[in-house]
Amino acid sequence: MIAYSPDEAGLSPSLHPDYRSSVDRSPRQPLIAIPPTLTETTGPSAWDRLMVGPSGIDLTAQHPGVPQGQRIIVSGRVLDDRARPVANTVIEIWQANAAGRYIHSADTWDAPLDPNFTGAGRVVTDADGRYSYVTIRPGAYPWGNHKNAWRPAHIHLSLLGPAFATRLVTQMYFPDDPLVEIDPIANAIPMPARQRMVGRFDNKSTKPAWALGYLFDIVLKGRDETPFEDDDHDH
């Protein structure tokens, strides 16, 4: 029987009172530990094949015109927590436009929509776990958590990884954004682990006269090959 690493203790709490909507939307009972079964150690190997359509690795090329804003290239690797590459895994991406506005009808602040930017895409890692996509650097935007609350610029990222146990949804932040330091959602994560969500500006992946490069590695729970006690019951 295989299993995956437990969640790093204290890394991602369900309750962070400064993030006000987490107060009524987080359980108060402790999570119940269960033995790893096939349910948790398997994951959909072919779900993306169900879906047709563009893979969406260039979020600036989904409309007839060029979107407003700073063009960027985000690249990196998906690894497990023992630094082994996670190959052929899907990263789903969504984000606000350069002005900090989502195309979503629930986003009603008066920053402009961009007819040439949707802000959603998908990218698949290669055999070494590497990925790269082109987008626009998103803007910061106000939200209702408290008076004068602003979300730092961020890109939403979602990964299934190889198993039910390896699911991850996170956000990538940008260096030199002081809002990260006071954002209640980013601050739900204790330091220094919070900084794992801050990408790095990278000269090498910056393309001359075209786009700035940022690096962002994503680390999923790793597979533990240690046999479990239960295996002995079969002998």
Partner: protein, 241 residues
């Protein structure tokens, strides 16, 4: 003499090869580890759900909320069913409630399950003796609708092995996401009339007085109803996986 113009940048390096000095960030080996979770927020609808994502039998566009953004932004994919899976077609529905008992209107549910024969469509399920169903992926995703209801159409799963020589009762693995939910909440759905509920190795690990939060009941001979309560009396059991 080397003149440091900023930490890590020496004048001996060609100007185009200079890198900004390292920081405590994503690339810092000293803080390498699991990437933390962050909420999906309220605007996930054009990024995560896809049309047909809630229909594992594969004939409709259930699961997406295309009413929330313009048609020119339909980059969402559409399931392309290859055929009809084997087994009993069922519908699963419910709501997600907060601590005050109010239905959450910006939640998203994912399911992961075995096929009717009890095999997962996963390279990690290597049991050759149990057939794969080429028409069944076993993974689904549904946004809740404007009234907070989620709905899946799927196949009633078969039984799969548990630890040792145990056999698990039929179940679905369920993940709950939403605004205010920092980290995915993992639970399970069992069926009220499921074979082996009394001996299921996971269900029996749950205190007896909370097991009913994991059991779906059939309403009027139709849908299997499974409400999820994030907090309060009858709080749903969530698992560390």
């Amino acid at each position: 003499m080397t003149i440091e113009i900023s930490p890590g940048i020496a004048l001996g390096i060609a100007i185009e090869d200079r890198e900004a000095p390292p920081r405590i960030d994503n690339q810092d080996p000293a803080i390498f580890g699991q990437t933390p979770w962050q909420t999906v927020g309220p605007f996930f609808h054009y990024g995560l759900p896809w049309k047909g994502g809630a229909d594992l039998v594969g004939k409709s566009d259930m699961g997406a909320r295309t009413d929330l953004f313009g048609e020119e932004h339909y980059l969402l994919n559409l399931s392309s069913p290859t055929g009809t899976p084997e087994g009993e077609v069922i519908e699963i529905a419910g709501q997600v409630f907060d601590a005050k008992g109010v239905p959450i209107l910006d939640a998203m549910i994912e399911i992961w399950q075995a096929n009717a024969a009890g095999r997962y469509a996963s390279v990690e399920d290597r049991r050759e003796t149990v057939p794969i169903d080429p028409h069944f992926i076993g993974f689904g995703r549904a946004s809740v609708d404007q009234d907070g209801f989620y709905r899946f159409r799927t196949i009633r799963p078969g039984r799969v092995p548990g630890p040792g020589n145990t056999l698990q009762a039929p179940h679905l693995a369920v993940s709950v996401f939403g605004r205010g939910i920092i980290k995915r909440l993992a639970t399970r759905l069992y069926f009220a009339d499921g074979d082996g509920n009394d001996e299921d190795p996971v269900l029996t690990a749950v205190p007896a007085d909370r097991r009913n939060t994991l059991v779906a009941n059939r309403r009027d001979g139709g849908r299997w109803w499974f409400d999820i309560r994030l907090q309060g009396d009858a709080e749903t059991v969530f698992f560390a996986v």
